[in-house]
């Protein structure tokens, strides 16, 4: 089991690093697909099988395909120009990328500090949950659990998200409308 986890995590990290440093957008998108797929595997390790399936359906199946479409419909000359501009400097790191590297290192430092400093097995709310029998053993029907929670405790966020989606839909329709009749 542990071996599978490390294999998945390794695939994800390697692919993510390639996405970050790659100069070729098409290859980056395909590696991003790998990241999302390995991520779905990690969700299964966290007993979140519903999230894993959603991850594959929405991200691996939808978002990446959308990205590939966007790439195919983009002006080829434009991409060439970007690549030519990019390839004139040093290959891996350049001064322009310094702020982003610093930011990434700062976030990494925060996370590293969290990982080393927290006593994971000994958190108060975990003991309470175990004592109350409120925990997942891996044999429950998680989809039912998610559905019941969405319709009871998280009903209001669930409904308010429809306002969010409507606003996004109207915005997208407005921005994408034909330019001639405007």
């Amino acid at each position: 089991m542990t071996a599978i986890f490390y294999i998945l995590a390794g695939i994800m990290l390697a692919a993510a690093c390639y996405v970050a440093v790659s100069r070729d957008i098409a290859r980056a998108v395909f590696c991003f697909f790998g990241v999302l797929f390995a991520m779905a595997g990690l969700y299964i390790f966290a007993l979140a099988d519903f999230v894993a399936v959603t991850q594959i359906l929405v991200y691996a199946g939808g978002v990446v395909v959308l990205m590939i479409f966007a790439l195919m419909l983009t002006d080829k000359q434009l991409l060439e120009n970007i690549r030519r501009g990019e390839s004139s400097g040093p290959r891996l790191f350049r001064a322009r990328a310094l702020p982003s590297i610093l930011l990434a290192l700062a976030v990494f430092a925060v996370l590293l500090q969290v990982i080393t400093a927290v006593d994971w097995g000994n958190m108060a709310w975990r003991h309470e949950a175990v004592a109350a029998g409120n925990r997942i053993t891996g044999h429950e029907n998680m989809v039912e659990n998610v559905g019941v929670n969405l319709m009871t405790r998280y009903l209001l966020p669930f409904e308010v998200i429809s306002v969010f989606l409507l606003a996004a839909l109207i915005g997208a329709a407005y921005l994408a409308r034909g330019r001639t009749n405007n």
């Binding site: 925060v110 996370l111 500090q113 969290v114 400093a117 927290v118 958190m123 108060a124 709310w125 975990r126 309470e128 949950a129 009871t152 405790r153 998280y154 009903l155 209001l156 966020p157 308010v160 998200i161 306002v163 969010f164 409507l166 606003a167 996004a168 109207i170 915005g171 997208a172 407005y174 921005l175 409308r177 330019r179 009749n181 405007n182």
Partner: protein, 455 residues
């Protein structure tokens, strides 16, 4: 809660009006709906109602800020007659998107659960990404929209990351449960607070996460920039304070120093850069950054009537911003651009506009007898009560820098001449809204007790 439902349904109703081409009905329906929403919000006063398994809490804090957001939107709608028609034929979408953004704002000031905070911020943000880019043929507007979207999406990532860590530390999204969890010492909780602070700082343009502000304000249409400076900033700070007041107040020893540093950075970045601006809209954008710094002072003083100070400050700031941005729109429309030289001789051609703008910038600068003075006064007072004397001294120095650049526009209006300036025509909506704003700035500047004791 009823007001949130009314605002959301109103947005859909406005869309239907647009569908059936009742363009003249858009404004009256929106205004009536908003008045109803404000009235329904006022009915919740002192009731302290909890909704839907503690997702939202309509306490007096939520009611006061909801009413402020709704009334500010109402003032902006008063200025919007014949404004959006110049941009496009499809006017209903603007009203609908602004109403959706307002619905997000109402959620942000009344959440009692981190899930609701996230959804509220996202509803507000996604409507604004589109509104910033509504002038589709204008590259500056497109750039503003894209920049805002990318920065906003990035900030959302931090916010979500922080929310997840807080959940990991406390086992709950509920503000009351987080506050009583006793996990304030754990590294997980502290990292969560830090990341949420970064995410919220992006949204309210606190330095060093403010870099998007001037470009987005400049590229957006004037009324949308006004909406960002008033409604969005008020909602953002109300949410910021509500989160830190209701959930993280016990851990204030940990985050206070970070907020103090952010406050100093924001004050100096905003004020010093504003000195060098020669376009009024960019000047207002940088001054809005600096006002975020003053508001952070109040957040430092969590517990010591900070919410009252933030309410007074945001009321004063919103009123003055409506007037300043409104006159900026009029002048740049009549004279081609918003360069400070365009304001030359305005006192001779339009004494009313010159007087209103003078009052507005005096209020922004915090001159006595205007509402802005008491905004700064209460914020400084709560910070002093907490012992942040050195911080208040720095803030006062910044207020003096502020007076310098705000007075540049007054000097342009009263002391510089422009031989071929012609009087700017005002439509009744502008005249009414500006008169109301002048009256309220004076009223709250002379009788601050009217708003200082609400919360």
């Amino acid at each position: 809660m009823t007001s949130l439902i009314i605002v959301s349904v109103l947005a859909v109703a406005v869309l239907y009006l647009g569908l059936f081409k009742y363009k003249t009905a858009l404004l009256p329906v929106s205004v009536t709906g908003l008045l109803a929403a404000a009235a329904m919000a006022a009915m919740d006063w002192d009731l302290e109602k909890m909704y839907f398994s503690e997702m939202m809490l309509f306490d007096n804090y939520a009611v006061a800020f909801s009413i402020l957001l709704i009334l500010t939107t109402l003032l902006i709608f008063g200025l919007s007659r014949n404004y959006f028609e110049k941009i496009s034929n499809n006017v209903a979408e603007y009203y609908a998107l602004m109403l959706f953004a307002l619905a997000g704002g109402v959620v942000m000031v009344s959440f009692h659960n981190l899930a609701m905070l996230f959804i509220g911020i996202e509803i507000l943000s996604i409507s604004l990404y589109v509104l910033a880019g509504i002038r589709r043929k204008d590259p500056a507007s497109n750039e503003a929209s894209l920049k805002y979207f990318l920065m906003g999406a990035f900030a959302t990532g931090f916010l979500l990351f922080g929310t997840a860590l807080i959940y990991g530390a406390t086992g709950s999204f509920n503000l009351a449960a987080i506050a009583s969890s006793g996990a304030f010492e754990s590294a997980l909780f502290r990292a969560g607070v830090l990341l949420m602070m970064v995410g919220l700082s992006f949204k309210v343009s606190v330095a060093p996460f403010h870099t998007w502000t001037p470009d987005v304000y400049e590229g957006s249409p004037g009324l949308i920039a006004m909406f960002m400076a008033t409604v969005v900033k008020t909602a953002g700070f109300a949410a910021f304070l509500r989160l830190f007041l209701m959930a993280f107040a016990e851990a204030s020893a940990f985050w206070a120093i970070t907020v103090a540093i952010l406050c100093i950075l924001t004050l100096f970045a905003g004020n010093i850069t504003a000195v060098f601006q020669d376009r009024f809209k960019r000047l207002l954008a940088w001054s809005s950054v600096s006002h975020a710094g003053y508001l952070l002072l109040a957040i430092l003083a969590v517990g010591f009537s900070a919410s009252s100070a933030v309410l007074v400050y945001t009321i004063a700031y919103s009123l003055a911003s409506v007037a300043a941005f409104g006159i900026m729109i009029l002048v740049s429309r009549a004279r081609g651009n918003d360069h400070l030289d365009s304001f030359n001789g305005l006192a001779r051609t339009n004494p009313f506009l010159a007087f209103t703008l003078t009052l507005a910038v005096c209020s922004l600068a915090g001159i006595p007898l205007t509402a802005g003075f008491f905004g700064k006064f209460y914020v400084f007072k709560v910070a002093l009560a907490q012992g942040y004397t050195w911080l208040v001294v720095l803030a006062v120095i910044n207020a003096m820098i502020g007076i310098y650049y705000y007075f540049k526009v007054i000097i342009a209006m009263y002391m510089k001449e422009n031989a071929n300036a012609v009087a700017i025509q005002l439509n009744p909506g502008f005249r009414l809204v500006l008169s109301i704003v002048v009256f309220l700035i004076f009223l709250f500047g002379i009788f601050p007790g009217l708003i200082a004791n609400i919360l």
